[in-house]
């Protein structure tokens, strides 16, 4: 019986319970749902398929293989950690959105057909927008709207692709598609938007930094990783992904260096990490896919950890800009420590999780003789350390002491950060734990002398560059600013166009409103004069008049009936 319950539905049921639960039960539900869900997932037999049929279509609500199982496990773990981090928040609506979002992501990676995938993806889009709106500022409201618009448009492109594909092939199976199948390009672009393809990436760096401190942790875990899963499932070995991934790994780090908002820095660094994953998927070798998937797994943990630590900083100090922060190590020591574990992991320091997965993608690139890609990825790897590994902890917790009065966040949040940090170190020290879950069997070993030495050289000299640039005053100062990105082409005309329209329309709107108000007052006065005991509108009619009325109505109906016949 339980084996026919798709894992996503555990979260949907949980969201339902959350919506009606008493306050005392909410924390329990938030933690119990991912825990029970993981148990449920783990006990499912291998290769299980749960299907339902609607309108001649057989929908596969859940199918399990090693790839979907790994992402399923990952999303349950991420939901548990993020749930722990959100435990103290007393807003059931936000909790419901979180559970729906996580559940839909689990559904999307378990979907065996494109329709189910699309439906879960739309649930993800809508529920996740609430995590941005939850900030309850005008700015967040607008950012959430833009975010939702991007998600909806990419969803429609995906749907169009599915429709074209189905019309031509009569198949909706989620399987290796490639670009050459009918509708392949549309599906590729639809998923690509969610994976932050260059030029289509701005929804992430626009939306995520405006989310609530806890909401950003949820957001960072699911949408883009589900997109990486979909790419690995449907477009492995697509050469274009190598180019796209290399661009994504390189260009955001320039923005990350000059960005002041710490969570936006993390957003840019996230695009950079997805770049690594897409390169792995694009290479398409067993090592490449394994590397991409392993890196997605690790990224959820260390990026979640970094988003948690910066969320904690925002929540405890009310500030998030590098220029306003500094010296928090004294007042928020635990947050600082866990942040540094996350920073070491994303920078791929030996013994931390990034090291054991990033190197797989790099090795896959050299094995495929894609040396130019390897060259760019190496630059990106050094750059990540520069902006995410050093810049974030340095400006928040060290650097200039901004003398901010703050404390570490509530204990549940510290525990959430500790859990993620422990997992980062555990995977870094015992990569076998993760490698055993990967889609292809592997005997890859990241810990050899060359690899450890070269990685340390790269990172230490990258840090040396940071030190030298800071000491010589060449490092650009952190400034409150807006850095234009490609969404300028949409937002600027929209802003100007709407503003002009509002200005031109203002006279007309004001005049009409005044006229309407006057008309309402006059009609109100007239209506009043006809009310009361003898007024036309409120006088008592004899019941006989009603009978006559009904009789006339029936007669007209009869006549019309004959006319029609």
């Amino acid at each position: 019986m339980l084996n026919s319950l798709p894992p996503a539905f555990v979260f949907m049921l949980g969201a339902l319970f959350m919506a009606i639960a008493r306050r005392e039960a909410r924390a329990t539900i938030l933690l119990l749902v991912p825990a029970l869900g993981l148990l449920h997932l783990w006990t499912m037999p291998d290769g299980v398929r749960i299907s339902a049929s609607i309108l001649d279509l057989e929908l596969v609500l859940y199918h399990q293989d090693r790839l979907s199982f790994l992402f399923g496990v990952l999303f349950h773990v991420a939901a548990f950690i993020a749930g722990m981090f959100s435990l103290h928040v007393d807003r059931p609506g936000q909790h419901v959105a979180c559970l729906l979002y996580a559940g839909a992501a689990i559904g999307a990676v378990g979907a065996g057909d494109l329709i189910t995938l699309f439906l879960f993806w739309e649930v993800m889009a809508v529920s996740s927008a609430y995590l941005i709106w939850g900030r309850q500022t005008k700015r967040a409201w607008r950012a959430g709207m833009r975010y939702l618009l991007w998600q909806m448009v990419s969803g429609l492109v995906l749907l169009a692709g599915i429709a074209v594909h189905y019309a031509a092939t009569k198949s909706i199976a989620v399987t290796t598609l490639g670009l050459d199948v009918p509708g392949g390009w549309l599906i590729f672009l639809g998923i690509g938007t969610k994976a932050c393809f260059p030029l289509l990436h701005t929804w992430l760096v626009d939306g995520y930094p405006e989310a609530t401190p806890t909401g950003a942790v949820w957001l960072s875990s699911f949408t883009t990783k589900a997109a990486v899963y979909a790419m690995a499932r449907m477009f492995p070995g697509t050469e274009m992904l190598v180019v796209i991934g290399a661009v994504m790994a390189a260009f955001p780090i320039f923005y990350a260096v000059i960005e002041n908002d710490m969570r936006r820095v993390l957003g840019y660094s996230m695009i950079n990490q997805i770049g690594f994953m897409l390169v792995g998927v694009g290479i398409g070798s067993e090592l490449g896919i394994n590397g991409a998937v392993a890196h997605a797994f690790n990224d959820v943990l260390f990026k979640g950890l970094l988003f948690m630590s910066m969320g904690a900083v925002l929540q405890q100090t009310g500030r998030i800009h590098a220029s306003d922060l500094g010296g928090l190590i004294k007042s928020m020591p635990w947050t600082a420590r866990f942040c540094m574990v996350g920073a070491a992991s994303i920078s791929a320091f030996p013994l931390f999780s990034g090291f054991v997965s990033k190197s797989m993608v790099m090795s896959a690139a050299t094995d495929a003789h894609l040396y130019w890609v390897w060259f760019i990825l190496l630059f990106a790897a050094a750059g990540v350390f520069h902006h995410a590994g050093i810049k974030i902890p340095f400006f928040a917790f060290f650097g200039h002491d901004a003398k901010i009065e703050a404390t570490d966040p509530p204990r549940s949040q510290v525990v959430a950060m500790a859990t993620a940090a422990i997992l980062c170190v555990l995977i870094g020290c015992f990569p076998g734990l993760l490698y055993g879950l990967l889609p292809f069997d592997t005997d890859y070993s990241p810990y050899d002398t060359t690899h450890v030495l070269t990685q340390l050289q790269l990172l230490f000299f990258s840090a040396l560059a940071f030190t030298w640039l800071q000491r010589s005053g060449l490092y650009p100062p952190e400034l409150h600013s807006t850095n234009l990105d490609t969404d300028w082409f949409l937002r600027r005309p929209a802003l100007n166009g709407w503003g002009r329209l509002a200005e031109r329309g203002r006279g007309w709107i004001d005049g009409t409103a005044r006229g309407a108000r006057a008309w309402l007052m006059v009609s109100d006065r007239r209506a009043r004069s006809h009310s009361g005991g003898y007024g036309v509108l409120t006088r008592t009619w004899p019941s006989g008049a009603m009978m006559v009325g009904v009789g006339v109505l029936l007669f007209v109906y009869l006549v019309l009936y004959y006319v029609r016949a």
Binding site: V257, W374, L456, F460, F461, S462, L464, L495
Partner: protein, 111 residues
């Protein structure tokens, strides 16, 4: 800027005054070119020593290489350093093109 800013608001323009951000008291000037405290200075000395050691190791350890550039002695340290310096200097140039004031998207008109 703030005086001009208030003129630009046409009622509909969103402001951040509903954001619960306390006013920034210490606007930190992040300048690290000055003299160092003894603790930081000794940390930097250790760090410099580690860098030299890692560079020297390049010539002591037999590296397994895959890419042609990798075979150059000192490739990783040099690439790490030069790459990051270039990254920062180019990003600094990028600012000239993309940097606008913070309320850029809250205001109308060509700017």
């Amino acid at each position: 800027m703030s005086a001009q800013h208030s003129h630009d608001h046409h009622g509909a323009a969103p402001t951040d005054d509903d954001d619960p951000v306390p006013p920034v008291v210490h606007h930190a000037e992040h300048d690290f070119t000055g003299p160092l405290s003894p603790g930081v200075a000794s940390l930097l000395r250790w760090f410099g020593g580690a860098c030299i050691l890692l560079f020297v190791f390049d010539f002591l350890v037999e590296r397994k290489t895959h890419a042609p550039m990798e075979q150059l002695p000192g490739f990783y340290p040099v690439y790490g350093f030069v790459g990051c310096v270039l990254l920062v200097l180019l990003a600094k140039e990028l600012r000239k093109f993309v940097m606008r004031d913070e309320a850029y998207y809250d205001k109308r008109g060509k700017r």
